[in-house]
């Protein structure tokens, strides 16, 4: 295992009876990166991440997390990782500060939970029962619990599912902060936008297999999808001249709306320069870039659940 490798997975295999949830997948996670696992329902994300956390036992394959075998060295691994589970709860009649205080006692090395309350904006609800928290507050509490032992790796399994867009953005900032404080982050998500905005590298999986693994930018580039530039014009304007630009592949006009498309990323600069040089009056200029959603649809042939 290389020095900058946080997690190594080789030919991991797990089935439940006849159903194969994960089929011989191999990948590795580097130290200090945000690593995303993306896929539709039942793709095997939770199975994979919980094998890394030592909560499920693989049928076959090798898993090393921080150099440890999660099955054999569960205790010592749990001292060094933080976990947020897709499905878990804590007693409903327990108060926020009480859970944090309790979890502080479970680890040999911890941070001050009062700082975590502050950082996760939970100070106001520190004496509230768990059952009285909002969805976003519960999720922030679970983040706090996952950070209480100052872990080297943090695992988040669908951290933002069920949250409103605003709460989701708050969580994204928190995840970035966690990563900037030097921790490796492994997360699973249904949201392509989330993976695109947060992750250094994204593993796309379906039916228990890896479909692709790369940075969001490379995935989009490899897809070779089209960039589109759309603007409106007033009156009669000569637009045929756009065809002379090398990066332009197609020009179309519908009423007063012009759409110019091409695969090259320099398309936007070329088009805008041309508009200025020729003094073409335009308004409402928009661009459409291909994103991970397009990558996902083209690779799996289906749209991911929103």
């Amino acid at each position: 295992m290389q020095k900058d490798t946080a997690i190594q997975v080789e030919k991991l295999h797990k089935s439940y009876g006849k159903l194969t949830a994960v089929q011989d997948i191999s990948f590795s996670v580097r130290k200090n990166e945000i690593f995303g696992i993306v896929g539709p329902n039942g793709a095997g994300k939770t199975t994979t991440i919980e094998c890394l956390e030592g909560l499920r036992s693989p049928d076959k394959g090798l898993v090393r997390v921080l150099g440890l075998d999660p099955q054999k060295n569960r205790r010592s691994l749990h001292e060094r990782i933080g976990v947020q589970l897709q499905e878990s709860r804590i007693a409903s009649q327990i108060k926020v500060w009480e859970v944090l205080d309790l979890y502080t006692a479970l680890y040999s090395r911890t941070v001050d939970y009062k700082d975590l309350l502050e950082k996760l904006q939970l100070s106001q609800v520190r004496s509230r029962f768990y059952s009285r928290l909002s969805g976003g507050q519960k999720q922030r509490l679970f983040i706090a619990l996952s950070l209480i032992n100052d872990p080297e790796i943090v695992f988040f399994d669908e951290l933002t599912t069920g949250l409103d867009p605003q709460a989701r953005r708050v969580i994204w900032d928190l995840v970035r902060e966690v990563n900037e404080s030097g921790k490796t982050v492994v997360l699973t998500t249904h949201f392509m936008e989330e993976a695109e905005r947060l992750c250094d590298r994204v593993l796309i999986m379906d039916h228990g297999r890896i479909i692709t693994l790369d940075s969001p930018e490379n995935l989009v580039k490899k897809l070779g999808a089209e960039h589109k530039i759309i603007f409106s014009i007033k009156g009669r304007v000569q637009i045929e001249s756009f065809n002379e630009l090398a990066t332009v592949e197609k020009v179309s006009v519908f009423r007063d709306k012009v759409t110019i498309s091409g695969k090259d990323q320099r398309l936007l600069a070329d088009v805008v320069n041309h508009l200025i040089e020729r003094r073409i009056p335009y308004y409402d200029l928009q661009t459409q870039q291909p994103n991970l959603d397009d990558v996902f649809i083209s690779l799996t042939g289906k749209e991911i659940r929103k």
Binding site: E53, G54, L55, S88
Partner: protein, 247 residues
């Protein structure tokens, strides 16, 4: 060790926030005491061998509190943990799940003892309760009874999956048991044929043992009860070890 202490403390707080367990452990025995004590007082009664109604009732109600803890509290708490996926979250920490159960057993045992002491103090102050035995022997009998019934509770945990079933099953066992064992209505007042059935009810042995020690019996006078309760304890542990699941 630190984690066990903290867990025990948190579980104790949670116990106090759970109205049902609290009611059956602390309040229900007092209600019975005031109903029966209010009607009969604590005068010497030939039916109870010259002792008073309250004298006879307090050790019996103690048996009922033990049954509450063993049958209801333990099975409901463990089933809730499982169902609410609370154990899963603990599994992702260095905590051993055994610590969690230990903390619960400590808390439930402690609450059983508190329930008994509350009963004794109130009965003494209000009805002039009298104690004729040896406090240490009685405490010993109390511990043996708890061990035996807690072990019974863990058998239920192994067989029952959801919190709802745990509630229903434990209640369905609890009420006939406290009614027919003499834990609530003195066995002496019951018809002959019911007294015959009582032999097959585990709680009867707790009632007999605690009553005996309350009135100063010696250990050798209660060999049957001690054997039955010990066997229940051991069998319960063996079954639990085979059937218990964390998830």
């Amino acid at each position: 060790m630190r984690s066990l202490l903290k867990l025990t403390w948190v579980e104790a707080k949670l116990f106090f926030r759970e109205p049902q367990a609290l009611f059956f452990t602390l309040i229900f025995p007092l209600i019975l005491l005031f109903v029966y004590g209010g009607v009969y007082g604590n005068k010497s009664n030939p039916m109870f061998g010259g002792f008073g109604m309250v004298d006879v009732s307090v050790p019996s109600y103690t048996a009922m509190i033990i049954a509450t803890s063993g049958l209801i509290s333990i099975s409901v708490i463990v089933a809730t943990y499982r169902e609410a996926k609370i154990l899963r979250r603990f599994k992702a920490t260095p905590l051993s799940p055994l610590h969690l159960l230990t903390a619960d057993v400590i808390v439930i045992f402690f609450m059983t003892a508190v329930g008994m002491m509350l009963l004794v103090v109130v009965a003494k102050l209000v009805f002039g309760l009298r104690f004729f035995g040896n406090a240490l022997s009685f405490a010993g009998a109390f511990v043996i009874s708890c061990a035996s019934f807690f072990s019974l509770g863990f058998i239920l945990c192994g067989l029952i999956r959801t919190a709802r079933t745990a509630q229903i099953v434990s209640m369905a066992l609890f009420f006939p048991m406290i009614l027919l064992s003499g834990a609530t209505i003195p066995i002496e007042t019951m018809p002959e044929y019911i007294r015959n059935y009582a032999r097959f009810i585990p709680l009867t042995y707790v009632v007999k043992l605690l009553k005996g020690f309350w009135f100063g019996d010696s250990w050798s006078q209660h060999q049957t009860e001690l054997v039955v309760l010990t066997v229940m304890f051991v069998v319960g542990l063996l079954i639990t070890a085979k059937t218990f699941r964390w998830e």
